[in-house]
Amino acid sequence: MKKYILVCLMAVLFSAAAQAQEFSTALPFVRIDRSAVTSAMGGVQGINSLYNPAAIPFTGSDVAISYQNWAPKGAKSTNLNLLGGVKIGRFGISATGAYQIGTEYENYDGAGNPAGTFKPSDFLVGLGVGFAITDYLSVGVNAKFAGSKLAADASYNAFAADAFVMYRIKGFKVSAGVASVGTQVKSGENAYSLPASAKLGLGYDMAFGKNGINLAADFDYFFNGGIGGGIGAQYGWNDMVFVRAGYHLGTAKAPIPSYASVGIGGKFFGVHLDVSFLLASQTVGNTLCIGLGYAF
């Protein structure tokens, strides 16, 4: 009889489902930092012209491509990215593109019987425009379209937008706005929101002869309650060699987890080659990003 009770108890224990944390953020990959520069600085994006078109009129043009070995400890993907912002007078135009190739997985039915394989993928495209209202104040918006192909019969797409206001005075920059505000993704009867957030960005640039230091910080308040942010610093010598470091913070509900980052870069006649490496994360640690760009 005791044995019987034990068996029943074990059956109950084993049949109870462990609950995964609620992670209702759709298409979270839209918040991945795809620049080898900013990802080395803790993923600070708020004042960067590659993410914030309001910054383009104050910084100048920069176009970059990057190869990213994302999250090799977690949901590994191979990302091919394009980021660019072009300054035209008081205007700034930006473009974003990314294609993520996921790891092939094996399908199984509900009984555990194999049912073929599938390689998932994500994509992101976007256009932005910035305008300097005064020499100190600018605004900018991004429009994006993102999607995931998860299975032969499962695809999800959404539109998203960013909007920023930026103020600059001397070496100090501050921006505020919203990011990744857009349509919901529906699956069955459930709807999932994009990782939208209210975003605040800070930056301060210093120069000592041929030496330059750039400091930056980000703060995101995600509408699902998550909080994210990052701080980063860049040291540059003669605008040719750069060393970068940073830290990114992500709470449990934030789309991007916490990590530390380091990176280096070189620039010659506007052409810059940058590398970043993420560490101190169970999932995105060991992420390597190599970027090649042209600043003009």
Partner: protein
Amino acid sequence: MRTKAILFSALACALAFSCAKTPESIVEEAPEAPAAAIEEDEAVSEFVPGVAYVRVTENFSQLIETDLSEGLVETKSAGLNSLFKDLGVTSMSRLFPDAGEFEERTRREGLHRWYKVEFNQENTLTKASASLASIEGIEYVEGRRKLTNNAIFNDPMLSNQWHYINNSVAGRDINVKKVWENYTKGDPKVIVSVVDAGIQVDHEDLDGNTIAGGANGSKNFTNDSYVIEPGNHGTHVAGTIAAVNNNGKGVCGIAGGDAAAGQPGVRLMSCQIFGGEGGDSAAAIKWGADHGAVISSNSWGYVLDLDEDGQISPSELERAKSMKIDGADKAAVDYFIKYAGCDNSGNQLPNSPMKGGVVIFAAGNDNIPYGPPSDYEPIISVGAFSSEGKRASFSNYGDFVDIAAPGVAIRSTVIESGYASMNGTSMACPHVSGVAALIVSYFGGPGFTADMLKERLIKGANPSLLPDNSRIGPALDAYGSFVYGSEDAPEIVTEYSVTPVSNNIEFSWEVTECPMSGDPATGYVLFASTKSLSSLNPSNPGEGVVIANVEVGSKKIGDAITGTISGLEFETKYNVAIAGYDYNHSFSAMSPVKQVTTKANNPPKITTDYSGDYKVRAHATLVVPFTVTDPDGHTISIKFTPGSPACTWVQSSSSGGYQLTIVGNGADPGKYTASIEVTDQYGLKASKEIHYELMANQAPKVVKNIENMLFSTTGEKFTLQMDQFIEDPDGETLKYSISMSNASVLNLNQQGNTLYGTTLDFGLTEVKLVGTDARGLTANQTFKVLVRHPEQQIQAYPNPVIDKLNITNDQSDPTSMDVLISASSGAIVFNGKVNAGAFDPAVIDMGKCAPGIYSLKVTLGGKETKKTIVKK
């Protein structure tokens, strides 16, 4: 010849007896004989050369059966293989092949152990049998006896000609065999004109008994030529009359001679009236009379179905009734009867076998009581009967029909040297023509007249073969026609014994001879009376005399024969006697009269050797053999009261044998009583009561759980004794059934109570085992069979997942493991420990996670496994 007979007997004995291995006897070597003598011996052997039947032991059967069933002559028995080479064995196969649904009883009776061995005929049977018998495992050897159908002729289709010799029901034929054996097979001095379609005169089985076309031979009346155009109908009729006998080909004819003995049969003249525009029947009939024929066979008649709708309407019936032969046909018939075999003055020609002719006609196939022109009185009109001894459904009938003959499924010749079976009075008519030809062949000659022939035919026919209401006359009886008019009463029975058994008296005596013919008596009549028999007339015994008829059948003179007079008074003194008779019922003198006193009546007996109880479990069936007899041999009636539907009483194949069967699930459980009451024809009874109990049924139950099974490769096998897991408390052998949730993973094969499984593919299947008893009660249990890829330590399913994600590992028992699930952005959605095993998945609810790509990382035993999971 004497030498041959001795050697033949020696070989037969050697084969049949010396090769049987018994404890008392050892296989004897056949005596050596000169090669020439052996060959001569084999040539006259009763056995087929090159063939032997052997019976092997059960062990030996198991050793060789599989190999031999595949057609091999190479087995696991080295001794047998060696012998195969020595004897030149070409095949060895089961004499009684696999009987499918009856194989079980075939094996139970040991018939699967009989083999047929075919070997080089250069090896004698003597050598072969001795060699085979020397093999360990072969316990009996015998030769294959040559078979015969006891045919008098060697024509291969004679066995199909029931109308001559009925092998199914003896005597239901034209009784011609004894004529062939004792009198004649036909003589060419007799000519039969076949007024019909043309005969294929060169038919392989007619040639020699036909008359070719010519000025004095056959004639084609359809175009007034001597060129006969063969037709099936005429050729078929001709074959019945005189197909060549004993030529090893086709069929037999009634008067077809004996080719092997060099004796031709009667001759067939074709007078063709069918074909083209048709011919003049009257001229054709007359032609026969003018060209030697004394018998005119006419298998034709007038068209009565005038509108050709396949049936006779009332108006057509009226027309048939009034239709009579007249004019030319009548004149021709009269002419044939008067002048056939005669000169112009009506005197019998010196070389003619008969004065005058007979005209024989088919009665017609309209199933009506008229049949012109056959109803013309001088014509012999022939109706048709079947092998069942009944008037053929189509045969015309009535008083005008003079005689009946076989007319259904008649095998004979057709054109192009072929053979076929046909139906009709057209086929019956030539039987009479053929027998008539036999009579003329034997009795014909100066002074023999057509009237004599007609009298023999009709009065010698058998009036009792067909039912009284047949209305097609007596049945043609060739032998009866030959012995017609003879008085060949058998010799008196001088010695006999009588034994009273209840109110019956059993006689025993020996068959006596008919002195004139030398034949045995045809039959005997037994007489019993309480009065004196001294002045008894056997033909008319009068009142108060009880008689019994005993037919001799195939017994020979001097053979013992018995008979019984039944239904006498009990315990009464009777005078008894015997008188024999010949085929024409000419009686012998009465035997000496004896006095016998009958016995008292004895009641029937109900007996069984079964001494057990009559308690029957639900799944069981009790069969108890009984014997019900009446010691006096009286007719008994049995009244059986079953008590419940579960109990039945049927007669078995053995004499007096019955089976009482009680089926355990045939009725509700409980106690019942069946009764058997047997009453003899005089009302004396015997009875027996059977008290039986149908025991209550208990449902099957699971006695042991079947453990889940984990495999790591395909093609792995396992075996389950199902009766070890689900049993019936009643001890019943359950019927097991199996079902699976995924048949691609596993192949299951059920043989009896054993379940054989083979893994087919990676995956999981749930197997349900159900045991069902005789009353349909069941018990079941399920178990899982998982075939995991050996390199796949962790499995997560379903994938893509909607809510519950199952994670299993390769451990039979649940084991703790670390699980980390993260989104594509790197966000962690689950990080913790779970317990899981191969059959006990850890379940993680991802229902609240957004669609996307996730990473699953499991750490078990220090080994880390990472998988991509997609949430839909």
